[in-house]
């Protein structure tokens, strides 16, 4: 009987907390749909540039489902490669094809090599020419680039975001549930002062967090690091800021800690899928667009540019501004959300 009483009570609690119930049923469907979109995407089709004498390769490569773009000069092709518009560029040096891989994405590297091997084999058997061994080089990364080197920058972004989001969110939520928020609002404190105070207080901690995580990933875990440590630090910090401001904002819409945790499958998981951890090109266009509205996307893009491609300020400036913009927007919305508790 007592077991039945507990069973019944739990069912009643679920029925009263519609949001938890909805999440139990809907969140798995959402995450699974995202997964199927990400993993069921078409096989990765490499984008290969050809220039000069390598143009004859075009047809053979296209037969291997590669997208081939012809460039008038090798310089134009190299520029496109540097902008990561291409996965590889093929030029002809005498009779030897020279292949330069963009290199930052092991999946793309493999796809290019696969297409290239098949294409050269077909060409040789058709033309009956002698052995032509393509020369392979890497623009970024290296032949021995490990999966962790590719995922490292993204995972730094994801985990920083995840933990700061939860901790800041729960802490702001507590302020409400323990009544201290109401107490604060009965003082002459202005709403924006609360929000800014939170950003500064947590901000100091996130500086140390960013330092530690960046140092640990690079020095201890040995994740590939081609660029400036200062930029890594800056990006990690800005990503923390956006997580902190988003967490405190969304805590206004959670009644308790559990409901805060329920934001993970809604806010964090989709961002991970759209962060560039998996090739974005194979996703439907609308889903790629959604990715553009998430902080982690900008954070991990910039971190990849710094850590793998060793790029400087001009390559990450847009991402930096985007993250600052997100943080400011979330702060502003939070100041407005606090109106729910005090109008002035």
């Amino acid at each position: 009987m007592r077991v039945r009483a507990i069973t019944l009570r739990i069912l009643q609690q679920f029925i009263h907390d519609k949001r938890t119930m909805a999440l139990m049923f809907i969140a798995p469907l959402l995450v699974l749909s995202l997964m199927s979109l990400v993993f069921n995407g078409d096989a990765y089709e490499p984008k290969i540039g050809v220039s000069g004498g390598a143009v004859p390769f075009t047809r053979a490569l296209e037969a291997q489902n590669a997208t081939v773009i012809a460039y008038k000069s090798a310089d134009l092709g190299t520029a496109a490669l540097q902008e990561s518009e291409l996965d590889a560029l093929i030029t002809l040096n005498g009779t030897t094809p020279e292949v330069m891989l963009e290199g930052s994405n092991p999946t793309a590297n493999r796809a290019v090599m696969l297409a290239l091997t098949a294409a050269t084999r077909n060409l040789q058997s058709a033309g009956g020419e002698g052995q032509v061994q393509p020369q392979i080089s890497y623009l970024y990364g290296a032949e021995d680039m490990k999966t962790i080197d590719r995922f490292g920058p993204i995972m730094i972004g994801v985990f920083v975001f995840f933990f700061v989001f939860l901790i800041a969110g729960v802490s702001f939520l507590r302020e409400r549930t323990t009544g201290t928020l109401e107490r604060l609002l009965s003082t002459p404190l202005k709403r924006w002062e609360i929000v800014l105070g939170y950003v500064c207080g947590f901000g100091i901690f996130t500086v140390f967090q960013a330092l530690l995580i960046s140092w640990f990933s690079i020095q201890v875990l040995g994740i590939m690091m081609a660029g400036s440590f200062g930029y890594v630090l800056l990006l990690t910090l800005l990503l923390s800021m956006s997580a902190l401001t988003l967490g405190t904002l969304l805590s206004a819409y959670a009644a308790n800690e559990l409901q805060m945790i329920q934001f993970i499958p809604l806010i964090i998981v989709p961002q991970i899928f759209l962060s560039g951890l998996f090739p974005m090109d194979t996703l439907p266009l609308w889903l790629q667009r959604v990715g553009l509205a998430t902080p982690i996307y900008y954070g991990s893009e910039a971190l990849m540019n710094i850590m793998i491609r060793g790029k400087g300020w001009s390559a990450i400036a847009l991402d930096v501004y985007a993250l600052i913009g997100f943080s400011l927007l979330f702060m502003l919305l939070n100041v407005l959300a606090l109106r729910k508790h005090r109008k002035m």
Binding site: T178, G179, T180, E182, R183, L184, L185, S186, T187, P188, L189, K190, H341, R342, K343, M344
Partner: protein, 243 residues
């Protein structure tokens, strides 16, 4: 008690949450340096009224004036000391850290802040527990610390929501003595209570039930007018008469 302008003037105040009317046409005035009690059972709208007085909440219609200014007004919050029904303390901090935090919010700094903290802790008789973490405090101690925080910035108006819940009779007496001293210094006190014998200690009393103001008068007059022997009977009289 009439010394010119009232400290609080509530005129025809209505407060509704959606279609639920929590306060219905309340009008009352609080004079300077009196202890004004708001008596009513829980759910009667006491806390809602208090939130209107402190400017945390806004009226649906009617108006609330505090010290001559129409509420809600941010600058008026400096003039009000508020003690909420929930203790609203940072339990992971020490009492001293809590006091320092709230003192800073009210703009107290340096030696003045240290002095005020010592003063208010003496009032609530917690001076020996200043450095203790609040999660080690008993329920009554937390209540007293909340009161101490409300007194920090020496506000001319104190609004206390159920200030003596969970405080033992001895300490309750000493807190009342302190409230009387504050009255003597010109501080106006508004407090809510559902304890009848405590209501009798107020200078004047408003009785609220179901969001309606039943009566406002001195405890003695309330008893005399209803012919009741106790405050409880008087309350029942007004509550019954309304039906």
């Amino acid at each position: 008690m009439n010394q010119g302008h009232p400290v609080i003037a509530v005129t025809h105040v209505r407060r509704a949450f959606g279609t639920k009317e929590v306060l219905k046409d309340i009008s009352l005035q609080v004079e300077q340096a009196e202890t004004f009690g708001i008596l009513g059972p829980s759910g009667s709208g006491k806390t809602t009224l208090v939130k209107l007085l402190t400017g945390i909440d806004e009226v649906t219609s009617g108006q609330v004036e505090v010290l001559g200014a129409q509420m809600p007004k941010l600058s008026m919050l400096q003039q009000i000391g508020y003690m909420a029904q929930s203790d609203a303390l940072y339990t992971e901090l020490s009492a001293k850290e809590n006091l320092e935090f709230f003192a800073s919010l009210y703009g107290l700094r340096g030696g003045n802040r240290t002095r005020r903290i010592a003063d208010v802790m003496e009032v609530v008789n917690l001076q020996e527990h200043l450095r203790k973490r609040v999660d080690q405090y008993s329920g009554g101690m937390k209540r007293r610390l909340s009161l101490a925080i409300a007194l920090l910035h020496e506000p001319p108006l104190l609004i206390l929501d159920e200030p003596t819940v969970g405080i033992d009779p001895v300490l309750r007496k000493s807190i009342w003595k302190e409230l009387r001293t504050l009255n003597g210094n010109g501080t106006t006190i508004v407090l809510t209570t559902h304890v009848m014998d405590e209501a009798e200690k107020c200078d004047r009393l408003a009785m609220i039930r179901d969001g309606q103001l039943l009566a406002v008068d001195t405890p003695a007059d309330l008893l005399r007018n209803t012919g009741a022997a106790s405050m409880e009977e008087a309350f029942l009289y007004y509550g019954g008469a309304r039906r």
